[in-house]
Symmetry: C2
Subunit: 215 residues, 2 copies
């Protein structure tokens, strides 16, 4: 069968699927979400930093379902510097994870490896200080690799699959492309291109700006 | 004449030009030079900041002929923050120019517009403090647009001209492309791709890394 015919059939089938009627349309672009430095905490570390039996207080929901910015913040203390007011994100995680930019790393004196979330083996540690105590992490400091969250219906629309690495087109005077963007598909995910502050500032992007996938 | 024949002739003529024998070869790549925040000062501002009759002291030559990092530093004072130890670059310029990243701008409370060097009209000001006094700039704070310095021979080798805007290919896990890179050709220029710290950190680049031009 000719390639063109196959593409036409796939296109028509995709257009007729009911779950795609409300899904994001690929041609509408993907909204940018800029991740400032933040920390995810384990239950044990929440108690050490904020006190026995302490529970995080939700400040506001994030776009990804179930994720929220807590009212709590911590201080990161590295060998070369300190960063105050680092936001805690909820809910509680199995392992504490600190996400900073390379710029933050220079200030702290820590080199965060570029990692997908949850891949912490061999990453450096840091001292985390809260109002009731401090935790000396032996690992968990990373520079989060850029990624796109989406639901399965959006993955169909964009013709990508969980785990794919794609290239994203950036518009504007600081435009170009970002390679190696991880696709993450999950029912609780909402369409959003997560980048860190270095990437946002380098590309002149801010929350809600639209980018597109390169074919 | 056929396009292919034209390209073959141009290629042979270029290869035979004597000034190209020592010029950088396009296929060898372009070394990255990361510009940290810095300031170029006018003669009048040097006197206000460092004292009457003061002359800058060279610390080390930069790659671009005649340019140098001075021993002197200043403090930038913005509405939201301060940055100490901002390096002065020599030689003296007709107009004072402050080059900071967007990240620096957030800390200072100043939004630096993306500009080519020397294009300062309508840019914001800032307070600059030296050991002998302070200057309140009414303009001159910019985020320098990425650019490539080269001599005429290299421009021939790369088949670009002064003022061109090109796309640069970035290798590595944070790779991709940077659009709108200005080509600057001058006898005193040496081949170097100048980016700021946001761009370097976002792309995982450091001084001396090699990038290539996209065709």
């Amino acid at each position: 069968m000719e390639q063109k015919l196959i593409e036409q059939i796939v296109s028509r089938v995709l257009a007729s699927l009911p779950e795609l009627q409300q899904a994001p349309k690929a041609e509408q672009g993907i909204p940018v979400g800029v991740s400032n430095r933040h920390i995810h905490l384990s239950a044990g570390h929440i108690e050490t930093l904020f006190g026995s039996g302490y529970a995080l207080t939700k400040d506001k929901d994030l776009k990804q379902v179930g994720e929220y910015a807590a009212k709590e913040t911590v201080t990161l203390v590295g060998p070369k510097g300190i960063i105050r007011n680092v936001r805690v994100l909820g809910p509680v995680r199995a392992f504490t994870q600190v996400e900073i930019s390379r710029t933050d790393g220079f200030g702290l004196g820590v080199v965060p490896p570029l990692r997908d979330s949850g891949n912490l083996d061999g990453s450096p540690g840091i001292v985390v200080v809260g109002p009731k105590g401090a935790v000396t992490l032996t690992q968990g400091v990373i520079c989060a690799a850029r990624h796109i969250h989406m639901e399965a219906a959006a993955a169909l629309a964009f013709q990508v699959a969980d785990g794919d690495r794609v290239t994203v087109k950036i518009p504007g005077p600081r435009g170009g492309t970002f390679d190696n963007v991880l696709i993450r598909v999950n029912p609780d995910f909402r369409l959003e291109f997560h980048i860190d502050t270095d990437e946002a500032n380098a590309a002149g992007l801010t929350n809600g700006d639209l980018v597109t996938l390169c074919k």
